[in-house]
Amino acid sequence: MELIQKTAAQLHRLLRDREITAAEITDAVFAQIAACEPQVQSYLALTEASARKTAALVDQKLAGGEDLPPLAGIPIAVKDNLCTEGVTTTCASKMLYNFVPPYSATVVKKVEENLLPITGKVNLDEFAMGSSCENSHFQKTRNPHDLSRVPGGSSGGSAASVAAGEAVLALGSDTGGSIRQPASFCGIVGLKPTYGAVSRYGLVAFASSLDQVGPMARSCEDAAMLFSAITGADEMDATSCDRGHRADYRDYLARDVKGMTVGIPKEYFGEGIDEEVSSAVMQAAQVFRSLGAQVKEVSLPSSPHALSAYYIISSAEASSNLARFDGVKYGYRSEHYQNLQEMYVNTRTEGFGAEVKRRIMLGTYVLSSGYFDAYYKKGKAFQSALCAEFDACFAGCDFLLTPTVPQTAFKLGENIDDPVKMYKSDICTVPVNIAGLPALAMPCGRDKQGLPIGMQLIGPHFGEDVLLSAGHHYEQATGYQFTVPAIASK
């Protein structure tokens, strides 16, 4: 019995039936980490001792006959931009190389309350800015399906760890596709929740109006379980809210796809999308049709401009959010300065990587007096227009189906010198963040090279239940089974 090949739902059943122990699962995961971390390099920090302690507690409670939350004992990796009390939270930046927060993110607390052993903190693009994990100050995480390729980003460490069996679940964050794009590249499931569905408290902010924390998992059922554990209003986050859903999203999984209408937005299948990707997603549409859903073409005419609006809004907010990293209070401080001004300048010059600096400059520019109306204000106006287009689609559709990324995982270094080409990797995912919608990324086949292809299911606000049940039915219909790629299982 290969424990590292199993989904959280399967492991939960085994634990419940006392066929295995939480300690055995944790052992298996740390053994896998020891075996493939030298190649994959997902982790920035391991928290093995506390993970084992949680696992032991779970076993003790199970032995005592206690009723435990469904994910108790399932090892989870946490993206290193989520604050963990007493454990470094670096955002993969030199700027926070030594930052140990005295508080935990609300999602981390919820994970702890649900007794999931936290395996460690996983890699990302610095401050979640990037699509390949290559912008990490510390290391370049590899795609477990092909070690010469990127795992995607920014939640590349989260995706790679789950795909490689180094964790069963992971928490990621998604500002423009940062959960969905790496999920797609690594062949796993990633859910970007509705803006406000999950607390952002303790998530180091990139773009506050777009950021969301979400689950990365091996199946839609697993994603539903983790989403159930982390969703809900939080009094520490004024932008979070409740929509009166059932506490356990697994309750929705059985809901029939029959009678649903799937919208295919034509703008997401044209130029710039790899043929193999388009056809895999169109085949998935056929699967939904065979399950009794109606499939119809819809239009989101503003979509091509979403990337521009995204870079205006996200960079503007980032320039403000990242201004606090100045060397005064915590984190990195330059050793070379004569006065306050020099300390600021040198600290930020030395502490931030190139991509972060590019976005800070971009954001500072678009907010500057005289440019605000031309950029930021236009970006926000675009946001309203795009929301209206999505609303119009959802008036006649239950969810929309698109590719997650225009292509499959690219090689390390392939796009590193061409930021715009790198940005285009997010072309299908950013509109979702701009509109604050939920979207589910999941595997829908392989390309000629055997690399995973991902599809994206976009729902109306707080329509996670629809997405998860549709995705679950797709998995059932296609006999999808998660497997750790051979290269990582060696």
Partner: protein, 476 residues
Amino acid sequence: MEYEVVIGLEIHAELSTKTKIYCGCKNSFGSEVNSQCCPICLGMPGTLPTLNKQVVEYAIRMGHATHCTINNVTKQDRKNYIYPDLPKAYQISQYDIPLCENGYLEFMVDGEKKRVGITRIHIEEDAGKLIHADSFDGSLVDFNRCGVPLIEIVSEPDIRSPEEAHAYLETIRSILLYLDISDCKMQEGSLRCDVNVSLMPKGSNTFGTRCEMKNVNTFSGAVRAIEYEMARQKEILDAGGVIEQETRRWNDAKGVTELLRSKEDAQDYRYFPEPDLRTIYIPEVHVEELKATIPELPNQKIERYMIAYGLPQKEATLIAEDVSRSHFFERCLEGGKVAPKSVCNWLLGDIAKVLNERGCELGDLALTPERLVELISLIDQKTISTTSAKTVLECILDDGEIAIDQIVKEKGLAQVSDTAVLEAIVAEVLAENAKAVEDYHNGKTNVLGFLVGQCMKRSKGQGNPGLMRQLLEEKI
């Protein structure tokens, strides 16, 4: 040339809410350095603000008190600038949609009613404080003040003299105190203002270029800063120069304004809507509920004191402007035992003198309205003389326990109205002052005052002066 000054004021008032504006930290002054802060007000990575509703309610009440329009739908914005006392590197404030706008304030200056427009009132957070210690090479930061709620009250440029500016500031302060939303302790920095000053030729309607003065921390400082700036600008204009738009710093110690930055160096705050906070929606019902909580304000009180109690404007103003004094005054009048004028005289006379000498407030004394009423009643009943009452007052200012009649008894202050006793004194005084008696009969009736004084002296101040005068007139 003769110039007219044009003044606009921006007042920052710290609100006396229980907790800070965006976190649960206590909003208190004078605590140990960096003891009243948490990851949120320290702006640590990943933390988020949540708005304290009480701040919005306090600000709306100030808006009502100054006849503002209350915006039911408003938002908060980020004002971005980097400084070590601002841990997030932005201040959460309000930019284009303030909570309150388009109001006005009326007050009296030199017996004339003056109206000054209120452009806007918005809510924002305070920053920390830099501490420059001689013992330390560098600066230290105290973050206790970070996140203390502020309202900024911006006036229209309607003020035309330093006196008007002073009266405006006093009025704002007394309203804040009446609403009980700020303690207005200038020495603790809970009330600060920026002053905008420009000059225009007398009779002109076109405003000149203005200079803004920061760091004005006292009302008298505001007056002196305005006077200094008027003189500085006049000198430049008279010499044929032009005023540059500048931000200047008031140096209170030297009594001068100093250049802080010119227009070219004006900071670009890159305002944008605060994405961590939701739009603020205030139902009209709630706005109206808050309106109902506005107490009678100084202006209304002054009018009422003049009409209902017959107090002169000056006295009415002196009482009404001071919230603790007016509360004391009104409590004394409850029950209608004593005349308003008597209470007024005591409050503005002997009691005010003591407060002045001690530099304290009415609340710091043990004296209660009930005890003052008791004292005044004793005078009214002619049980003690006014002179004796002053002695009693000295005793009860700081002692709230001791019975007043006990003091009167122990100190022998009871007024003597026994005709037999007084007649004896009158007889003695008349006998010893033959010259005065003679003068009186020769028509110099004003010597009677002198004779009353002599009698009072002989009675050690305890004789009933009215009775004494009556007896003198009879016996002389």
